[in-house]
Subunit: 299 residues, 2 copies
Amino acid sequence: MTVLIVGSIALDTIETPAGKVFEVLGGAATYSSVACSFFSKVQVVGVVGQDFPARHEKIFALKKIDTQGLVKLQGKTFRWEGKYFTDLNKRETLRTELNVFEKFSPELPENYKKTDYVFLANIHPSLQLKVLDQVEKPKLVVADTMNLWIRTARKDLDKLIPKVDILMLNDEEARMVTGEYSLARAGRKLLEQGLLAAVIKRGEHGATVFSRQGVFFAPAYPLEEVKDPTGAGDTFAGGFIGYLAKSRSKSFGAIKSAAIYGSVLASFAVQEFSLRRLLQIKPRDIEKRFKEFRKLVSF
Amino acid sequence: MTVLIVGSIALDTIETPAGKVFEVLGGAATYSSVACSFFSKVQVVGVVGQDFPARHEKIFALKKIDTQGLVKLQGKTFRWEGKYFTDLNKRETLRTELNVFEKFSPELPENYKKTDYVFLANIHPSLQLKVLDQVEKPKLVVADTMNLWIRTARKDLDKLIPKVDILMLNDEEARMVTGEYSLARAGRKLLEQGLLAAVIKRGEHGATVFSRQGVFFAPAYPLEEVKDPTGAGDTFAGGFIGYLAKSRSKSFGAIKSAAIYGSVLASFAVQEFSLRRLLQIKPRDIEKRFKEFRKLVSF
């Protein structure tokens, strides 16, 4: 099965207690596409500028990601600069240069329109809707969003949610969307909007999946060192939908395994800056850590 | 098997978003003894004042808790007043009246000295040491502590830790004791001090057990409403050591099940103010929720 992924492709400048890197490959579509590629074919939709380094383009080729939907526009690639503190759950955005991303209006290549699985990474919900409108008959749509759109584009978000099967949010966003402080109640309220499942990401505390079949708790892998949390949520989402596309199932069982595969991929992603670790691992590393996740919660 | 528990017995005045209660039964020894009593016989060591209500004394009798070690002194019972906010992980202490607790010098009744299982709830580490010195040959010692003692009584705490098998801390305290931000590294450092296991409690995010046999992640039960988080950690600890005493095992497998039973008991405790819910539940409720915990993490 093939997964269509739309989202940002960025050059990130990142400082964490473990060091600092300049203009490394980043962006939600990048992390999620690479994570997804371990399980399924990927078609990416995004935009870069003319300064986008050829060595980064090669990474998409290396992971056999279809880049027909990746357009190159006059101008500079989207840039983000951020700093993380000792508590890696907290970060400060120092600079956001939208550049070509400002003019991003996703148009799907013809052969993307029949794709069954869609991951709408965190971009303006009106763009997420625009992508979805071009997909003929998706079997499963997963969407991510952020506090900014919940505040400033609520109308579009409310139009999007009924068209989505699985929504991903962090705990703060789940509380914002539902107005409920209790995550259990927020999860129930999200389901009442017609979702198949809501995945609440809780960073170093793991993720909780709410579905009509029950609640599932995916732990976070207890890493001694997290070098760079950037892209962890996108990596989770990419592994998550990649596994669902591979398993061709929407069952609660498949969703639970998908959440663990997402957590496995995210646990690798944060061990090095940018996509370094994700580009080193092999399927056997993924399977090994998947088994470690099982041990982590078995009693 | 019998578990000796030492700690505070208090009259609590508590405000949470769910309401306010005045001078209800509380204290670490109270919560942990009642939780422990579902699995093992309990001997409690503590102090109350002459104003301690007879209806509270009856609760110990009802749960068949041995109160020979519970002394009544001239003066008033220890009182605590606190307020919780929407984020129930945050609380403000409004008032602490030590009263008779100020003169508390635990002396064990003769028949307590041969007890095999000991839970040292959160009191000054010099008092925890004093209790431990009176126990002839404990098989398993579990201790809790708090940020105050880490800051102000570090010497006594450092004397205590080598005599303890399992130490319980919250995440902030684990970071303080070890100087490590990463909980995985903090867990390893705690084990290097000779502990059999370190249990890091993370409130609504569950608890992580670090042992030389591996790491175990106990989830928190996804409750739609938490009315009063007071005593959750003590209830966890009481259920934890109670189960270990019942199973007569120190294996990693037993410790993992104990952490789940602790979480089960804590999940009941927070559903109502004070010990109300803990005093309603039956063993079958505990077994039912234990199975739900298994479902929560099975994939």
